[in-house]
Symmetry: C2
Subunit: 397 residues, 2 copies
């Protein structure tokens, strides 16, 4: 068992072996030879090389199927990946095994506005502590998602509206240097979409949208099973779709963006106005207790039957649903998954989003279109970040 990793897949056959074994569990050499259309000798040689690279192990004899006994190929059980998700005000770090099952995780508040040096130092600190607690000397790779547009090839954020100081900062290379392992950087919404695809409700979907409603609003786009990032890497930036030219000012400088109506910050603003304007005794009480209201406060008011909280939720759901209805007409996805902090408002929000989509899009596009909440409870970002880097380690460079 290798507790630090020397390599990554070197041939397409090695890459396919790793991906099959990651997604389906240990497989016999006979089985792999059949799936890959190559000889058992080739599988034995390639699997042997994967053992040397610290990526696979000999998994013992396979259950007999009558003929010659075959040997199982499995992922090295010491293989570890790290997934990091940075949000506007919180960070989550997880250590996973080679199949991207979360072995340990840590969540903590951060302020992304403090800039890359301060925030990445915290992320490194948490990562090192988790790795030490798990007895991992070096992970096979680290994936990280950040709440803004990313130049994926360059590994840097690009003009991120809510991340002052991060524009062009070499996040990928800085982390890779510090941790001595491959790192990949992507947008938070993209890695969340990957997490849903790997282990969430989108497991069997090849064309789907993951919509994050958090402090900001964004969308991960999966086409034919692969993330679609767009010509400049900023595809899915739906929070800045303009829904009313006379609407409130947005963090991006424009007026009337979707996010300015119903991001987490907008919802907190509207809830506070409702509390202070005497329109919701429940929200007023929560404001007095907590000193400030958040999207989560609106969720608590909802569970206490507050009419104003319900009205805010419905209005927001209608706006999100109207934007999504247009995207359904354009993109005709097979599934829409809703996640992010504000999605914690749950089924009142979901019902409104659904009815807007179903009402405004053509029947052909919505006839088989499930619109569902994420079921990963906040892990989609870290699992997806781990998936991002594992795909690279398991692929041919």
């Amino acid at each position: 068992m290798a507790h630090f990793l020397s390599g990554r897949a070197e041939t397409p056959t090695q890459s396919k072996i790793l991906t099959y074994v990651r997604d389906e569990g240990p497989l016999s050499r006979i089985d792999l030879a059949g799936r890959l259309g190559v000889s058992r000798t080739t599988v034995a040689a390639e699997a042997g090389r994967l053992v040397e690279l610290g990526l696979a192990v000999d998994g013992g004899p396979a259950a007999s199927r009558g003929g010659r006994r075959s040997t199982l190929v499995d992922l090295d059980p010491g293989l570890r990946f790290v997934g990091i998700e940075l949000g506007a005000t919180s960070m989550r770090v997880a250590v996973t095994d080679g199949r991207l099952q979360v072995l340990a995780r840590d969540s903590s508040p951060i302020e992304i506005r403090r800039g890359p040096e301060a925030v990445l130092a915290e992320a490194l600190d948490t990562t090192r502590k988790l790795l030490a607690a798990e007895g991992v000397e070096k992970p096979a790779g680290v994936g990280i998602g950040v709440p803004g547009p990313v130049d994926f090839q360059g590994g840097v954020p690009v003009s991120p509206p809510i991340m002052p100081g991060w524009d062009g900062y070499p996040v990928r290379d800085a982390l890779s240097r510090e941790l001595g392992t491959p790192v990949l950087l992507d947008n938070d919404v993209n890695v969340m979409a990957l997490g849903e695809q790997h282990t969430g409700v989108a497991r069997s979907a090849s064309d789907f949208l993951f919509v994050k409603i958090g402090t900001g609003i964004g969308c991960g786009i999966v086409v034919g099973g692969h993330l679609y990032r767009g010509a400049d890497g900023c595809a899915g930036d739906i929070g800045h779709i303009r829904i009313d030219a006379n609407g409130p000012v947005c963090a991006c400088g424009n007026h009337g963006c979707l996010e300015a109506f119903f991001g987490g910050a907008a919802l907190a603003r509207d809830a506070t106005a409702a509390a202070q304007g005497g329109r919701s005794p429940v929200l007023a009480e929560l404001l007095e207790e907590d000193g400030a209201l958040t999207a989560e406060s609106v969720g608590r008011a909802l569970t206490r039957g507050d009419a104003e909280a319900l009205a805010l939720t419905r209005e927001g759901g209608r706006r999100v649903g109207s934007v999504l209805a247009n995207l359904v007409s354009f993109f005709n996805p097979g599934l829409i998954v809703i996640g992010g902090g504000v999605a914690g408002l749950g089924h009142s929000l979901l019902a409104e989003i659904r009815s807007s989509i179903y009402r405004q899009s053509l029947p052909l596009a919505t006839g088989n279109l499930p619109v569902v909440l994420s079921e990963l409870g906040g892990d989609s970002g870290v699992i997806g970040s781990a998936r991002l880097i594992s795909d690279a380690v398991y692929a041919v460079a």
Copy 2:
């Protein structure tokens, strides 16, 4: 030279040879062996088989490069494809060679509302006449585009709003039976996008949108060089994006769709109202001359400096641009091509579309985004239809 075709590519190597030779012209066996990473013996054998299939010919000796002379492989010069584009009120049919250069074309008025039997009989008649005039016994395949959603796998239109009687009609199989050759059916906008990719302004773009503004409005989506059709085959149906819930009734039954504001029919309606309401002497004159106004009449009024025609064009361009701005934020394309009959309004329309997109989308997504008019002068649909079927004939079944 084979004037009727027996086959299609049988191996991935044959498929690659055909595609290279289609897109780059005759290539020597040495050159092909190098590109494909196979031996010259293999290329010779596969090329020989393509000759037997009537797809390729021995193109004579290649220019010497010092070593042994090599033989050129070329497409069979007798290879012919047919591309058909059905619109709401017009049909275009073209016969192309194996490289999809148009050898002969025919345009004629049709009424798609007359239903599949009547319209397909006309299409078959025109096709047979063109083939006879070109001395073609049997084309290698036929591609056809229709103005409505299509089930590509099934080869049938699905609930097409402006094609009464066509829902579920087996267009592909009926034509294939009549012509005795492979046929593929797709949406008109999809085949136009393929035409732009094959020989138009989108030749070097891998992620782009083709927006058709004709009687209806639709959008072809190319992702990674391939058409994206969506989960139900109706991706790109942007004419039915709702832009104002209180807007005019649309052919689809909803209110305020983009198409109800600025499809060709809507523009004719608004132009007629302007003529009858005394707001445009030029349009009134054209109405009197022609008995009815069309999008083309508005174009003629534009060239005569009519202020009302300019106002209608600008207002339409603003509406289309607003919808496209949202799609740019979502999809981050590398290029947008505008085509279709109404695009004949030209640069007054284009300028308005561009300025709406640039004003309402984030700078990152528009910094390198060309928005251009199609330059194929109406041939994009027939070339794209031919491309659709040629891709299938040149590919392994």
